[in-house]
Symmetry: C2
Subunit: 346 residues, 2 copies
DNA sequence: CACCGCTTGGGCAACGTTACCCAAATTCGC
DNA sequence: GCGAATTTGGGTAACGTTGCCCAAGCGGTG
């Protein structure tokens, strides 16, 4: 018993035959290339529709373009990334490009390499790296193989463009907000960073620096108090425990990320203290759950959609001209005050 | 001024020349195919490493395989999907396959079609569709073009495998839990479904059915109370407002999804009622935020990791044998009681 | 009328890989 | 020690698309 005809895919040759033209002509129509009359175009398009033809990306890839753009996400769980992604897909919606996401395995440098290599192997036309943890050299290596845009790294490179949030300014907003409410003992929980280059480029480090500068700027240098853990719920919990054990307890905690703030809230509740009564808490990223009623976390909103849109725009520009000089876009964040911050108790 | 040599990619021919063997031999080594001696393998591998050669997926695709698997996610925001994804990538980690995610644009049938078509055009070796909203016919169409596994649809098809959570049982767990605490007036908020086929296949409908059956089974048929909105925060908020306006207010609300429960909590707080004192609330999916301290939502945990693992396994089996009879896997969910449910007030 | 430039269409050779074949060398069975 | 079977390696023709080139036709110009 035979399988019922393995049904070959319709190719450009079938279309050409059906429309009684050459394959070259069909190819020209597909790519909106020069050298095809309106009548020709119409005829070919009709044949394409009648046969339900779709160009095979692999074959196109062998000749150059795949019409595919890769986006590397280090961690799909981070609720901030979808915003960026929407910005990207929105900008690319009416182009011929299709976006695929590469799951970068939670901040793991090796997993990142695997995914980016896979994207290059698949001949993707360009890639967007979101908050990569890879080394500088590695990023430049990638960018030399394929047009690339890096999101969320402050370093400046000649071969790739960058789009970032102004984390320094964001931290400043938080400190300003808390100080404005009357707080003086404002502590910060940061993500520990050991590597020197990354210290300069990663957003977490910028937030910590921004915190320090802002504290100094408003005359609270004496009160600077930074705990180094990690940007996880656990990290927030541990950081808060340390802060709560201080002889002079801080009256406000600026957590470097919303997820960290979740851990802080837990530790605070466990210590029998109330928020914002006994202690104010602010996060960063304005993730979806920050707005949930029972949480209602004061946070900093990065213009995720704009970040994504700009990244896509720059990538298209770079695909069009690989030699163009690199661009750095820095967008301004916004403070979203909610119910976890209030004036300190008298 | 010349650009500094456009650096051609290393190809299989370069490797063959460098190792002084034929391209066929190199290809055999790459694919672990039959017909290459151990010495040959060693020699070729050395050459590969020395040149840093990586096979071009596009060229492979033209000959059949791309070693790429596509996963369609209808909504990256849904915090339940990462679990599934981990299960998939975990299962595929030590194979040669690479996973790429297609962003399916929030429950939009057309966007889904665009992504799945794109995957087929790119010659992907297999695709996993997570909670697709597309019609039955469309799913079968896809599955006839490429090996496919559908996750989160209860329908049975001959051409694709399915992996689902036993939503009926999950709903039963919630009702049982609440009834066990002493509740009788247990209401449910469901996602409105108009299409008939989907009513039978979609998890949301199964949860609603499971709720009804469970209520009947324990003699609470009289108390069945279902509000139809949507699986969104807004839907939960509106649903809860309706329920709270009832002359006999329910003492417990079973929300069809965690995000719905968030809306419920908000409406309840707004009405000046307390949880679980005045009203108990349960969700479904056990998403990350359900466990956050200030929320602590009773929910149902689907074995996301197992779902993903099974989906990947079935897909590999189907890739190996496209004619094999289809399989349906149904996994059992687990109740996770937290602080939003308690005995009703006397 | 010779010449030029432009438009329209097609022929052909890649692109990098693998499936299918065949040839030579080696081992096995008796 | 001879034919048969098995192992090992290579030659070659696709796979579907596009970039480069060329040819024919056409209108305008000097």
């Amino acid at each position: 018993m035979e399988p019922p005809a393995p049904q070959r895919r319709v190719t450009i040759v079938d279309v050409a035959r059906h429309a009684q033209v050459s394959t070259t002509a069909v190819s020209k129509v597909l790519r909106n290339a020069y050298g095809a009359s309106p009548e020709m175009r119409a005829k070919v398009r009709r044949a394409i529709d009648e046969l339900g033809y779709r160009p095979l990306a692999a074959a196109r890839g062998l000749r150059g373009q795949t019409y595919t753009i890769g986006v590397m996400l280090p961690d799909i769980r981070n609720p901030f990334f979808p915003e960026i992604l929407d910005g990207i897909t929105g900008h690319l919606a009416d182009t011929d490009y299709q976006v695929f996401l590469g799951p970068g395995g939670c901040n793991d440098e090796q997993a990142e390499a695997r995914v980016t290599d896979a994207m290059i192997d698949r001949g993707m036309d360009g890639i967007i790296l979101i908050a990569p943890v890879s080394s500088r050299a590695r990023l430049e290596h990638i960018a030399s193989a394929v047009p690339a845009v890096v999101v969320g790294r402050h370093g400046h490179s000649a071969v790739y463009d960058t789009v970032t949030d102004d984390d320094m300014a964001g931290a400043s907003l938080v400190v300003g907000h808390l100080a404005g409410l009357g707080h003086r003992r404002i502590a910060h929980i940061e993500h520990r960073e050991t590597d020197a280059t990354r210290r300069a480029e990663m957003p977490n480090a910028q937030r910590a620096d921004g915190y320090r500068r802002a504290m100094q700027a408003i005359g609270l240098a004496e009160e600077i108090d930074v705990v180094s853990t990690s940007y996880t719920q656990q990290g927030g919990y541990e950081g808060a425990r340390q802060l709560l054990a201080r002889p002079r307890r801080p009256t406000a905690v600026f957590a470097g990320a919303d997820i960290v703030a979740m851990g802080v809230l837990e530790a605070v509740a466990e210590a029998g203290l109330s928020v914002p009564g006994d202690i104010s808490v602010a996060g960063y990223d304005n993730t979806t759950f920050a707005s949930f009623g029972p949480i209602s976390l004061t946070s900093v909103d990065q213009a995720g959609h704009d970040i994504g849109g700009n990244a896509a725009r720059l990538l298209l520009e770079r695909i069009a001209d690989r030699q163009k000089t690199s661009v750095q876009v820095k967008l301004s964040p916004m403070l979203v005050p909610r119910r976890t911050t209030a004036a300190p108790q008298a």
